[in-house]
Symmetry: C2
Amino acid sequence: MTTDTHIRDLINRLARLDSAAGWEGDLNPTQRAMLGYLDRANRFSRSPSHVSDYLGITRGTTTQSLKSLRQKGYVNERRSDIDKRVVSYDLTQTGREAAAIPAPLEESLSALNASDQQALRQLLQNMLQDILAKNDGREFGLCKTCRHHRERDRGPYCALLDVALTRDEPHQICHEQVSA
Amino acid sequence: MTTDTHIRDLINRLARLDSAAGWEGDLNPTQRAMLGYLDRANRFSRSPSHVSDYLGITRGTTTQSLKSLRQKGYVNERRSDIDKRVVSYDLTQTGREAAAIPAPLEESLSALNASDQQALRQLLQNMLQDILAKNDGREFGLCKTCRHHRERDRGPYCALLDVALTRDEPHQICHEQVSA
DNA sequence: CACTATTAGTATCGAGTCGAAACTATTGCA
DNA sequence: TGCAATAGTTTCGACTCGATACTAATAGTG
């Protein structure tokens, strides 16, 4: 059906234009995407494996890209004390600044009215969930939308990992997130 | 605004998943995108420049990719007689077959009902037009939606190039297309 | 009609993406 | 304790991609 191809093309073209604009400075589109993910992911979701799952690439590739991001001073590596296999990445100050520059796609997005934005988000989200379900991929939704998220007296809390959360963590991406 | 980032992420993730699935056989995602474009573009729109404009990459890159597509037997090169600088690419039989395999994104798309599809297409199209307008990029719409397209007694006709069109050309992509 | 500017396309370079496959180190489990 | 699973890394080869410098053909101007 020609109709289908069309929407697919639109999505790919939009992403491509977003990418093309993403060559700003010494970052390429993939590096920018990683930076963006690390910026929005919580402390449980910042390992090479998580980045790989989110971007849909292999861990080998991710290792390479994270290495070049580290060499350019955008991220710091940190090994876990609990599980010595695990590595986690933090954005440096430079990294946070770079993650903050807006893309042309965002400007165009803010031109849409609120209800259109809502509709668009909903439709895209449904598609994404559908595809992820078929590929047993994870959703990487926001912590606060998860079935394990609780609001307690002393603040937010994760019932899956059994840990107290800081005030901003519910708004971050979690690799364990499962929609309620 | 977190809201904006979200939609942008959705679009990029969908495109990325589409890409990741696009490694089938001996084609990579970019090669697959080029093949798809060449398959849907009319005879006036199949040069390296047009591919570059459509994909938002430089001509140098496009030349390289077309070269590898040709070596693998997916496309044929043809120099124009009128303007000897111009080259045009045709899909081979193998190329047409490869362009026909559907992506997971398409299946997920057909799960949406017709009105949702229409709504989604419209919203994405508006965004695309908006972004293209800001970057003086071309729309690459279908011939039949163009202001130069005419329906004559002897069949479809292009008033811009002053040529008669075959029956299927109005349904193809044209680099000269300008929405009516 | 000659001269210059523009346009179409190509080659080369360096950095980096990407999957595949082979590998190390750690942890989990029976 | 010993083997399987997991997290991450390395290496390889093919390729993308922008930048830059290039050739050839056409267009436009005086």
